[in-house]
């Protein structure tokens, strides 16, 4: 049953989305490698380091374009599922960020690596998605 629900969640995304997402991910990955190589060669306190990261930031943001195009192709129930998943992802990220930031300020705990926040957001989104899909099936 879990496998069926998971497959149904993936079925909401069409081939066009996966193609666009694949192109975006490839471009992003290549640019991350290139930017890393460039940034390493620049002086640590130079403003050029910041400038060098701008293209990869722009590509990272452009992933939203593929996502929005897919959301526009969703029907109304799929949008409701997506909204619930997005809220679950957003609130998970906010909960992690707020809790770790406050603990850092008041208890002096070490800062959390951004990758953990990314992972938490993904888990929140996925959990919200599967939960909503299961309710409507």
């Amino acid at each position: 049953m879990h496998v069926k629900v998971t497959l149904q969640a993936f079925a909401m995304y069409d081939r066009r989305y996966w193609r666009e997402w694949g192109i975006w991910f490839l471009a992003y990955f290549v640019l991350i490698l290139l930017t890393s190589a460039v940034v390493k060669r620049l002086p640590e306190d130079g403003a050029w380091r910041l400038v060098a990261t701008l293209p990869v930031c722009a590509v990272a943001l452009s992933g939203l374009w593929a996502e929005l195009r897919q959301v526009r192709r969703f029907d109304e129930m799929q949008r409701a599922v997506y909204l619930e998943a997005s809220l679950a992802g957003f609130w998970t990220a906010m909960a992690i960020l707020a809790t770790t930031a406050l603990l850092e300020v008041f208890a002096g705990t070490p800062p959390l690596a951004p990758l953990w926040i990314l992972l938490g957001t993904g888990i929140g989104f996925g959990g919200g998605y599967l939960n909503a899909i299961r309710r409507y099936r």
């Binding site: 149904q8 079925a11 029907d75 129930m77 799929q78 409701a80 309710r135 409507y136």
Partner: protein, 63 residues
């Protein structure tokens, strides 16, 4: 909300996929409407009524 979408669809000898295609939605959405797990928006309810050539109030009734 109760509805007679499944009965009317079967009477027309349409599959869920057929009806979904006619309405421009996914098969999962048609299934969720038929099982009463999802209440459609007003435009989609009108589209459903148009497909079955009936009024919205003939198709849906409050549970």
């Amino acid at each position: 909300m109760k509805n007679s979408v499944r009965e009317r669809r079967q009477r027309n000898d349409w599959t869920q996929q057929d009806l979904a295609h006619r309405l421009g939605v996914s098969r999962q959405t048609v299934n969720a409407i038929e099982t009463g797990k999802y209440d459609p928006s007003l435009p989609l309810a009108f589209a459903l009524a148009a497909q079955f050539q009936c009024r919205i109030e003939d198709l849906f009734e409050p549970s």
